[in-house]
């Protein structure tokens, strides 16, 4: 059983999405994802100003074992990449839903409504079906 905050939205590819007060969203990887990857040793986040489409690979998380893409759950413009992760990628392991956020994004008009996001309960079903 993974740690899944109820106030967040999720994707099948193991990202989480938090809607902030100003209408932008914060994106990271789930506790399940960080655990499956193991100790992270390198994280590459997108630069502010980059425009991404939904499902486009836009960040990379690397553990000792392997590199994995992180996909944009929603189309829009990147407003920030987490600057701390270049020097301290292990923050993602320690606090995946808080200090370990990867990027913030301003959704394109209508993109948030169009995104195929999951509730915590729906994401749990995805994990159950993967044999978690």
């Amino acid at each position: 059983m993974s740690n899944l905050p109820a106030e967040l939205s999720y994707t099948k590819s193991h990202e989480w999405v938090r809607t902030l007060a100003d209408g932008t969203v914060e994106i990271g990887i789930t506790d399940h994802a960080q655990h499956a990857l193991g100790d992270l040793v390198f994280v590459e986040v997108p630069d502010a100003g980059r425009v991404v489409k939904a499902d486009e690979p836009c960040a990379v998380v690397e553990s000792v074992k392997a590199a994995s893409d992180v996909y944009a759950p929603i189309g829009g413009e990147i407003t920030a990449g987490n600057p701390k992760l270049a020097a301290e990628p292990e923050i993602v392991n320690a606090d995946p839903y808080g200090e370990g956020w990867l990027m913030r994004l301003k959704p394109a008009p209508g993109a948030l409504a169009a995104a195929a996001l999951l509730s915590a309960a729906q994401y749990q079903q995805v994990l159950d079906s993967e044999g978690d």
Partner: protein, 361 residues
């Protein structure tokens, strides 16, 4: 279905994440791969290496047979128990496997071969052995534990009766000895001191638990890979295979070309290659920027041509990325590596990167 070692159920009980490795269901990590790596560099760790093949070769002409079969020369082995690292080559000089061979008596040698190649090796060895009347026995009755780290020998010998423990502590590097039911060798694949211990399969679980209770950490194949790469040791299938020869794989030192009359398999193909001068070489790389070097990334030397990373990882000891790469022989002190479309700078170094816990770069 993947094969299981005698320790399979214990790995599961200890919470290991299991993966397929060379047709075997093996533990890749127990808790933290980096934590297990540091346990070996700073204290002691134990690995299940029972998936490796242990072959006993017996016969009156076993020495002559091995002098034909192996690229290194078992005539270097003078004292019983002494071990030799060697490649086994095909007629084209390509590497069929890398292995350790122990000289146990004039009639008996023991070989330890890789898990993924053991079936192929056994068929090849038996095919060559016929003329020499050498009997080859696969010791599937044995388990093998690698106990590695600066504290490994002191801890592992506590599992033995006092006299056997003292005899194990007295072993020189690269020497093994039968002590009761166990064969204890001062060898390893981590760049640290330690033992590799072959024992009856029925002893393995109690030995592992005993080591754990002495503070020896359970370690998976993940940590084994980062440790061996820091130690500059090749991995068969990554850094060399049947399509590459030892001299372009950093293993020229293991090929005994003298005496010239020793006709080992592969010699006829290698001699003209060495005479003509080598086109490629295996080097170490240290990434000077953030990122992780991985196998198959393209290497761009300043001089000419291009190369490829054969093994790459994040080095927990050095806290930066390191790799082995096959590059043109003209490659000098610096290269660039292409990672996701970007060229990042790396320094060419001579492996090992780490030995006995200390950085060498």
């Amino acid at each position: 279905m993947a094969r299981q070692t005698p320790l399979y159920r214990l790995h599961q009980e200890l919470g290991a994440r299991m993966v397929d490795f060379g047709g075997w269901d093996m533990p890749v990590q127990y808790s933290s791969q980096i934590g297990e790596h540091h346990a070996v560099r700073r204290g002691a760790g134990v690995f299940d290496v029972s998936h490796m093949g242990v072959l006993d070769l017996r016969g009156a002409r076993v020495r002559q047979f091995l002098q034909r079969l192996l690229a290194n020369d078992v005539a270097k082995l003078k004292a019983p128990g002494k071990a030799l690292y060697s490649c086994m080559l095909n007629e084209q000089g390509g590497v069929l496997d890398d292995l350790i061979v122990y000289f146990l008596s004039d009639y008996w040698y023991r070989m330890v071969v890789n898990a993924g190649t053991r079936a192929k090796d056994l068929a090849w060895i038996r095919e060559q052995a016929g003329l020499f009347e050498v009997e080859v026995t696969e010791r599937t009755d044995l388990a093998m534990l690698a106990v590695q780290g600066p504290e490994a020998r002191a801890k592992a010998t506590q599992l033995l009766p006092p006299a056997a423990g003292a005899a194990a502590l007295a072993l020189d590097t690269f020497v093994g000895r039968e002590l009761g039911r166990w064969f204890v060798a001062r060898t390893g694949y981590t760049g640290e001191d330690g033992f590799e211990i072959m024992m009856p399969a029925a002893d393995a679980v109690a030995a592992w638990r005993g080591l754990n209770s002495l503070g020896v950490a359970s370690c998976g194949l993940g940590a084994r890979d980062t440790l061996r790469l820091e130690a500059g040791m090749n991995l068969y299938g990554n850094d060399m295979d049947e399509r590459t020869h030892p001299f372009e794989s950093g293993l020229g030192w293991t090929v005994a070309l003298a005496p010239s009359e020793r006709g080992f398999i592969g010699r006829a193909a290698l001699e003209p290659i060495v005479r003509a001068g080598l086109e490629r070489k295996l080097v170490g790389l240290v990434l000077e920027e953030r990122g992780v070097l991985r196998a198959h990334q393209k290497v761009v030397p300043a001089e000419a041509g291009e190369g490829e990373i054969t093994s790459g990882t994040y080095s927990p000891t050095l806290e930066r990325s390191i790799a082995l790469a096959r590059v043109p022989a003209t490659t000098g002190g610096r290269v660039q590596v292409e990672i996701r479309g970007k060229l990042l700078g790396a320094r060419v170094v001579k492996p090992p990167f780490v030995r006995a816990g200390r950085s060498l770069i």
